[in-house]
């Protein structure tokens, strides 16, 4: 069993005992524990179940690379799945539960998969769940969704706060181990702004665990001194619990700081995302130990040698009385010595190298540990816990020579540098045969805007090496980084180091090297996704030659750990199976984040009300207090309608339309785009922007205009007013203001930059109020408007007026077919004018109306709406708007495109009105069917509905639509699919449903 040792534990504070729960049971731990070390100290070795076979799993690592010990943390609004127990700091009251099992961690029904595992090979899902097709939706998918997946999604709204920090520095150092501290000090002492971040809660990495002296003092003392020196530098920012999440283009990096995960009672945000621009980035991210692939290497109790050493040294956890060490290198001997030093037994060190190790091996043998050279583990004994190791010759096929009873196995297949951050933005790797690893190629770093490399690696991240080399590398890289950032580095001295030298490792990708199938099918490469040696070999036999394809096919290296332990072993097995050298097989792509980061951190403060800016007109508050039922229109909010108490939306819209047609309606039109085009060449420019001839417009007159893009498609419409000889005011749609202004600027700046024209988007500078209906003129007169008779202020003109004491600019234009004025005032006067109109209009029963009534009013008149009648594929000619396209102009934006054969085709669908035979309302977007089927067996179509409403004025459904040869087919009845299998008959009619001659508007 695993338990707490009576003494030791360099990270523990035995003075602070914490209680916590796991799957409802109560346990005790200490400050400084991780959840994993505290569970191990309580003999809770089983921490999770694997993804595919639901095999029992314990922790295999002690840090960020952990694939197995994933738990759900917290409850309700603080619940979070898939948290690594090895990186979760213990706090008093922590609540955790295990995942991926049913009904319990100890007894999992899903483990039946286990005995069927030979029927679940690589690509199982792709091979099995293909036919018959309907089974996918109703049978396969529900079963897979139920039994697969890691953890459960939180159901409650996250109650924590998150924030973003923006930071700039000369040198960003990621990793606070001995190399990161050393490099940061070199940069900091040169005067550079340095940010140093470390993902764990303590500085120094694993150097103190491995021992040795630096400059004559113990590693920990040296680290403490380094930290003190750095803390004394005002130009150095140091963050613990802050992971370098990703490196991006041109020196951009993300840091993920966990502020209260370890202390949830602290005030403040839970996570902070650091958005950093650095001139140089030093990744001192260390190295990760590789597992060995032998049968049963996933049985709880089998751990990485370094992890087992961490548990003993850092947390005073005994993983079991008897620990067998299996290795292909010298470093794992340190684990044997540490275990021995803790008073536990090491029955044997199984060294796959025929000649064994060097100094450390001699030390182990001197300590009385039996070293078996040229041996391997054929098979691990035990189910939910290791009970023994069956050993064999590494050179053989797995014939068992002896079974050694034991409680834990420490394995080491060598070390791989953490190259993730180096690789995120294009840093290249090279394969080092001598050390059997991919390491960064310093000659091919990611490049910055200036073409210089901006990422450097320091220490083990450059390629694992001894402490002396790590220190020398860190001093040099720190100096390089700070020099690259424009500073002068002081000559750094490298302190002398005393630590046992290591002899060379020998690559072992499978144990034993000739393992028979039965063993390979139990030799795990990827613990999280249950990928075994036999799966990768099968993929290779089935033709998966690319490592990227093999990853997707076998799921090797997928999910939350992204193959931190499995990738190198997996591709080594693949390369052997393909009989190709490892560098030729290559690696999969490293992508950020290094380990999963919370969605909350990504969102930061951008949640709820501050998710995006909300634009309000000057009249917004008034509308809100008068019952506006809001709808979003871009970032604006506009009233959809103004329902009275107990009134439905539909009834409100009907009432608003009728009141406007009968007497007087009032609309806040302030959101409409207003763009000024001014200058000696303004007329010439307007002629290019609009399909109409705008240069001939007289000052004080208005003209409806159409704007196309260079592709010929209609993009916006609106009324243009010529304010004076060289000034035009262009009204755009509400959603179009910004992009139409950008469109104008693009053409002005990039095509006609010698034309003398300025544009200005003045949308928010003016409030605009539409006064609409037969009583509109009376209202203007009542407010003191002079010269507003039909003769003095005719349709499609502009006039400066004073209304209720406020100077206004009035346009007599109409989007409703009624007598109508749109009145513009500076935004600051908008509310005053609105209230003056409101008060004066009471005697006419003035009725505020919303966007839906606006739509109905325009549809009854057959006016098009951008976004309804147009969808980016419609040209003005489709809409019967030939009258608005100048024949005299040589050119306008879109004219050449409209001459292309497809645009000129008489079979393009054209706009008509549609009237249902039974008076009902056609569904939006309904298609008119034609005879026959197309190649896909679908009905042919001959038209579609673009706008459809109930017309309160006519008491029936009205619609507009685009129909094949529509204008030539007046009176014909078409069948429109109702979306439920039936059809609705509608007659093709003129699109102007109401007041065809314009009598109401032209008074």
């Amino acid at each position: 069993m695993s338990t707490r040792l009576a003494t030791g534990g360099r990270l523990l504070n035995r003075g602070a005992a914490y209680s916590f729960s796991f799957n409802g049971a109560s346990f005790r731990g200490y400050e400084g524990d991780t959840l994993a070390s505290a569970l191990l100290a309580n003999d809770q070795l089983l921490m999770g179940r694997s993804f595919k076979y639901h095999r029992p799993r314990g922790p295999v690592a002690s840090g960020a690379e952990e694939p197995n010990a994933l738990v759900g943390l917290g409850e309700g609004a603080t619940f979070e799945p898939n948290q690594r127990a090895t990186t979760t700091e213990l706090f008093d009251g922590l609540k955790a539960r295990s995942q991926n099992h049913w009904p319990s961690l100890d007894f999992d029904v899903g483990v039946v998969n286990n005995s069927l595992s030979r029927f679940l090979p690589a690509g199982f899902y792709y091979k099995t769940f293909i036919a018959p097709r309907p089974f996918w939706k109703h049978l396969y998918e529900p079963i897979i969704r139920h039994s697969a997946g890691l953890g459960a999604a939180p159901k409650d709204l996250d109650e924590d706060r998150y924030e973003h920090f923006y930071a700039f520095c000369d040198v960003l150092v990621i990793g606070g181990g001995i190399a990161g501290l050393t490099a940061a000090l070199a940069a900091g002492e040169a005067g550079a702004r340095v940010i140093l971040m470390e993902q764990t809660s303590h500085w120094g990495g694993r150097t103190p665990v491995d021992g040795g002296t630096i400059g004559g003092v113990a590693a920990q003392a040296h680290i403490d001194a380094l930290v003190s020196k750095l803390e004394a530098l005002p130009n150095v920012t140091m963050r613990l619990r802050c992971m370098g999440s990703g490196v991006y283009d041109h020196g951009y990096a993300l840091g993920y700081e966990r502020l209260t995960d370890h202390a949830p009672r602290n005030i403040g945000p839970r996570h902070r995302l650091w958005r950093i621009r650095a001139a140089r980035i030093v990744t001192a991210t260390g190295a990760i130990e590789r597992p060995l692939a032998f049968a049963g290497n996933d049985v709880p109790g089998v751990m990485l040698a370094s992890a087992l050493r961490d548990y003993v040294v850092n947390y005073a956890v005994s993983p079991g009385d008897r620990v067998v060490v299996v290795t292909n290198n010298d470093d794992a001997y340190r684990t044997a010595l540490a275990v021995k030093a803790a008073g536990l037994t090491v029955p044997a060190i199984i060294d796959a190298r025929p000649n064994g190790g060097g100094v450390l091996a001699a030390e182990a043998e001197a300590a009385g540990i039996s070293v078996r050279k040229g041996m391997g583990i054929a098979k691990v004994e035990g189910g939910k816990r290791v009970t023994g190791a069956a050993i064999c010759a590494q050179a053989g096929e797995g014939a068992v020579l002896e079974t050694i009873p034991c409680d834990a196995i420490a394995m080491s297949g060598g070390w791989s540098p953490v190259v993730h951050l180096w690789s995120h933005c294009g840093g290249k790797l090279l394969w080092d045969d001598a050390t059997a690893m991919f390491r960064p190629d310093p000659a091919r770093p990611p490049l910055g805007a200036d073409g210089q490399g901006y990422v450097l690696t320091a220490g083990s991240a450059s390629g694992p090496m001894g402490l002396a080399e790590v220190l020398a590398d860190a001093v040099e890289v720190g100096a390089q980084a700070v020099t690259g950032a424009g500073f002068t580095a002081a000559a750094g001295d490298v302190l002398p180091v005393d630590i046992a030298a290591e002899s060379a490792l020998e690559p072992v990708w499978m144990m034993p090297q000739g393992a028979e199938y039965k063993l390979r099918a139990k030799a795990w490469l990827d613990f999280q996704n249950d990928v075994k040696v036999s799966d990768v070999q099968l993929a290779a036999r089935e033709g998966y030659e690319s490592v990227e394809h093999t990853k997707r096919y076998t799921t090797l290296g997928m999910a939350t750990d992204q193959g931190k332990l499995s990738n190198i072993n997996g591709l080594a097995v693949l390369s052997q199976a393909l009989n190709a050298p490892i560098p030729q097989v290559g690696t999969t792509t490293f992508r950020p984040p290094y380990t999963p980061i919370s969605f909350g951190a990504i969102a930061g403060a951008a949640r709820g009300d501050v998710f995006q800016p909300l634009r309000r007109t000057p009249i917004h508050e008034w509308l809100d207090s008068h019952g506006a039922d809001w709808e979003p229109v871009g970032q604006w909010r506009r009233p959809f309608c103004f329902p009275k108490a107990g009134e439905s939306r539909h009834a409100a819209v009907d009432r608003e339309v009728k009141a406007t047609r009968a007497s007087l309606g009032l609309l806040d039109a302030s959101t409409l785009g207003k763009i000024l085009v001014k200058g000696p060449d303004a007329g010439r420019f307007m002629d290019m922007l609009y399909t109409n001839m705008m240069s001939t417009l007289k000052p004080g007159r208005c003209r409806y205009g159409l704007m196309c893009n260079e592709n010929g498609f209609l993009m916006d419409d609106g009324v243009v007013v010529r304010l004076d000889e060289d000034t035009f005011l262009c009204h755009t749609t509400t959603g179009g203001a910004e992009h139409i202004h950008a469109h104008m600027e693009e053409w002005l700046q990039t095509e006609w930059w010698d034309w003398k024209v300025y544009t200005a988007n003045v949308t928010e500078q003016y409030a605009q109020i539409a006064v609409v209906g037969p009583k509109a003129r009376k209202l203007l007169e009542k407010l003191g408007g002079q010269g507003v008779s039909g003769e003095d202020f005719p349709f499609m003109t502009m006039k400066d007026l004073t209304l209720g004491g406020i100077a206004v600019r009035a346009f007599r234009i109409s989007f409703s077919g009624e007598l109508s004025y749109e009145i513009a005032v500076p935004a600051s006067k908008g509310l005053a004018l609105w209230e003056a109109i409101w008060d004066a209009g009471q005697e006419f029963g003035i009725t505020p109306y919303g966007t839906e009534a606006l739509h109905v009013l325009r549809a009854e008149k057959g006016f098009i709406m951008i976004g309804d009648e147009t969808d980016g594929t419609v040209i003005p000619q489709d809409l019967g708007l030939h009258w608005a396209i100048s024949k005299k102009k040589e050119d306008y934006i879109g004219k050449r495109a409209q001459a292309r054969s497809f645009m000129d085709n008489p079979n393009r669908w054209s706009l008509v009105g549609l009237e249902t035979v039974d008076g009902s309302v056609l569904p939006e977007g309904a298609l008119a069917v034609a005879e026959g089927d197309n190649a896909n067996g679908q009905r042919n179509t001959q038209g579609r509905v673009t706008s459809t409403y109930h017309s309160p004025t006519l008491g029936r459904g009205i619609a507009m639509g685009l129909v094949l040869h529509g204008p030539d087919r007046m009176g014909e009845v078409l069948d429109f699919a109702d979306g439920k299998g039936g059809f609705i008959k509608a007659k093709i009619v003129d699109q102007v449903f109401f007041d065809k001659d314009g009598d109401k508007q032209n008074v």
Partner: protein, 109 residues
């Protein structure tokens, strides 16, 4: 996320402050042009691995359009210059010749 320098206002800023506008130095073909010329102008773009000339707008800054000469493979930025021109500045072409001997892009080399 790239860093670019706006040649109009001189600000060096993050990519999110700019808006990309596709290939630079296109010649507009209007009414009367052949179908082939118009198709080239409207639709056909180069997609080089290496030196490329692009349009950018400093949209959340001064609002001005400019061109950037950039390596699409390494993301190195050779330089930026105002969009009000039909060809890149000679000094910039010299820089590219020096850094990428033998390069060519459309009519430039």
């Amino acid at each position: 996320m790239l860093i670019l320098t706006c040649p109009h206002c001189g600000v060096t800023a993050e990519e999110t402050e700019f808006h990309a506008g596709g290939e630079a130095h296109l010649k507009r073909y209007g009414p009367g042009s052949s179908d082939a010329d118009f198709e080239d102008y409207m639709f056909n773009r180069v997609n080089p691995k290496g030196v490329h000339f692009e349009r950018w707008r400093h949209v959340y800054g001064c609002g001005k359009w400019f061109h950037a000469a950039r390596c699409t493979a390494t993301l190195e930025v050779f330089g930026t210059y105002p969009a009000q021109t039909h060809q890149p500045p000679e000094a910039l072409l010299d820089i590219i010749r020096q850094k990428r001997p033998g390069w060519s892009w459309r009519d430039f080399s």
